[in-house]
Every structure is written in structure tokens, then in C-alpha cells.
């Protein structure tokens, strides 16, 4: 089955896909921005400051999702002895890291009008900061080591250690007294957020997901060309 997804076979698709993904991203983002900044109502308590949620929450969700995917891919790379998994994981990391930073910075900006402070060592903020450090370590490992086998081992180790932090981020608001409110959106039960705020949030999440797909495809293609460049040197 993995042969179907071999880089040599899918490059034709991955090299053409970015332009369509970019177009779709711009369309969805435009709709999302209009919904988030103009159409969606203000909150009865937070007033217009609540609009920061439309960039903060999707960024946090996607950075968590990407890190979880990277861990799964790295483990699969080891189990199935397939380098392509590591390549996909490596290509996902930059967008995951940037989304993590966006979540931290926009969270800090949101904190000032709602909590009266730019930063607090609250359980969720701290665990998100730790996740950013894991992302940074992962990216640094790929930069500083040349030997593939060593990079695979160390980067997988980092993702496995880092994934322990993901449920901590998710449940920190339930386990400890934090400044963050408990989750408003539940997949299994009824969400406490009104649809007039839920839809813009989902549209912005879709836009962010498309952006991470775009960056992933561009990065993956770059990595494939890098490998082929090395191949040409050996001819």
C-alpha cells in the first residue's frame, strides 16, 4: 500500500496541488475574516475582544493536531521502516511551530483586555510554551545532524516525549484552576458556544488547515527536490 504513496509517484500531484490550495485558502480566509471581524456578534462579557478567539483557537487546535500527526508519522516511520513518514513529519513541523507561536502571541494579546495581564504562568499557557520548545527542538535536530538514522531516532524521541504534553494541554483546564475557561466546543456532546460564533470559528479553522496543507506541500516538494539534488551528485 505504501508504494502507492512513494514520493516518485505522488510528486506529479504534490507539485501541482499548492496553487489550487492557495486559491482555496485565500477564498476561505476572506470569508472567515469577514465573518470573524464584521458579521459575528460581540460577546456580552468580553465585548469585541472575543474576536481574537477566531485566530487564537484555530491556531492552537492546528498546532496540537500537527504535533500529534508528527508523532504518529515518526512512530510509523520506525515501525514500517519507511523514510517517507519522516519526510512528511519534517514537512509538517514548520507550520505547526508557527501556529504554536501564533496561539501564544494572540493568547497574550487576548489576555491583556480580559485578564489584565499579557502573560501568566497558567497551566495551559505554560504547557503550550513547552510544546513550542518541543517544536523548536525537533526543527533544530533536523538542522544540526547530517546522519539520517540519527535524526530519525532523535526526532522521534522528541515527538514521543512531546506528545505526553498534548493531553496535559487539553485537560489542563479541568485538572487545575487556570485562567482559561473549560472547553466550549465538544465533539461528543453539545457545544456551549452559539452558532453565530461557532461557524466563523469553523471557517477560520478550515482556512488555517488549508494554510498548513499549503506549507506542508511546498515544504514536502522542497525536501523531495533536495533528495533528488543529492541523487544527481551521485551520477
Amino acid at each position: 500500500m505504501f508504494k502507492l504513496f512513494e514520493p516518485n509517484k505522488i510528486f506529479k500531484i504534490t507539485s501541482r496541488a499548492p496553487r489550487y490550495v492557495l486559491f482555496l485558502f485565500v477564498v476561505v480566509l476572506t470569508v472567515g475574516l469577514v465573518e470573524a471581524l464584521v458579521i459575528s456578534p460581540e460577546d456580552y462579557k468580553q465585548s469585541d475582544a472575543v474576536r481574537i478567539m477566531y485566530v487564537h483557537v484555530p491556531a492552537a487546535w492546528i498546532s496540537l493536531g500537527i504535533f500529534s500527526s508528527m508523532t504518529l508519522l515518526s512512530i510509523c516511520g520506525f515501525v514500517f521502516k519507511n523514510k517517507n513518514f519522516f519526510l512528511i513529519s519534517k514537512s509538517l513541523a514548520p507550520s505547526g511551530f508557527v501556529f504554536n507561536i501564533i496561539a501564544l502571541v494572540t493568547g497574550s494579546i487576548w489576555g491583556k483586555p480580559t485578564w489584565g495581564t499579557w502573560w501568566a504562568w497558567d497551566a495551559r499557557i505554560t504547557s503550550m510554551l513547552i510544546l513550542a520548545l518541543f517544536y523548536a527542538m525537533y526543527l533544530i535536530v533536523w538542522r544540526i545532524y547530517d546522519k539520517e538514522e540519527k535524526v530519525y531516532k532523535i526526532s522521534t524521541f522528541i515527538t514521543i516525549l512531546g506528545i505526553i504534553n498534548v493531553p496535559i494541554i487539553k485537560y489542563s483546564v479541568d485538572w487545575w484552576n487556570t485562567l482559561h475557561q473549560p472547553a466550549s466546543i465538544n465533539i461528543l456532546s453539545k457545544s456551549s458556544i452559539h452558532s453565530s460564533m461557532l461557524y466563523p470559528l469553523l471557517i477560520m479553522t478550515a482556512a488555517f488547515a488549508l494554510f498548513s496543507l499549503l506549507i506542508f506541500l511546498m515544504k514536502y516538494n522542497t525536501e523531495l527536490i533536495k533528495i533528488k539534488n543529492k541523487g544527481l551528485d551521485r551520477l
Binding site: 507539485s15 465585548s47 469585541d48 494579546i109 487576548w110 483586555p113 522542497t222 523531495l224
Partner: protein, 75 residues
């Protein structure tokens, strides 16, 4: 309505700076990734150009190499 959007009940500085930071981060990441891609593509084309005809034919037997060359000429 424009005033409402620009003032946002006094929260505009926070809201617009959060959105601006996000969009500039997107733009920055996109440009950096694009630059890296173009750089590798150019390197590939240059290396391919320096191959002997025999080496070039051997390299062209791999479909992905042809795809990289054609995508480089399209960009």
C-alpha cells in the same frame, strides 16, 4: 459601520494586532518556504544542465526528475 469596525468598543488595538500578527506570520512563512523551494529547484536545474548527455538520459529515466524540470520551467 466602518467606525464600529475600526473602534470595536475600544478593543480594536488588541483585535487588529492579533489578526495582523497572524496574517504577517502566514505571509512570512509562505515567503520563506517559497524561497527555499525556488532555491532547490534552481539548484536542480543547474545541476541537471551540467550533466553529460548520458547522465542526463539516465536521470530523465526517473519520472520525478522530469516533473521537477517541467515544474521549474512552468514557474
Amino acid at each position: 459601520m466602518i467606525n464600529e469596525l475600526l473602534f470595536m468598543n475600544g478593543y480594536a488595538a488588541y483585535v487588529l494586532s492579533a489578526f495582523s500578527f497572524t496574517l504577517f506570520s502566514f505571509l512570512g512563512l509562505y515567503l520563506v518556504t517559497k524561497m527555499q523551494f525556488v532555491k532547490e529547484q534552481k539548484k536542480f536545474v543547474a545541476k541537471f544542465g551540467s550533466l553529460t548527455s548520458e547522465q542526463a538520459n539516465s536521470a530523465k529515466s526517473q519520472r520525478i526528475n522530469k516533473e521537477i524540470l517541467s515544474s521549474a520551467t512552468n514557474n
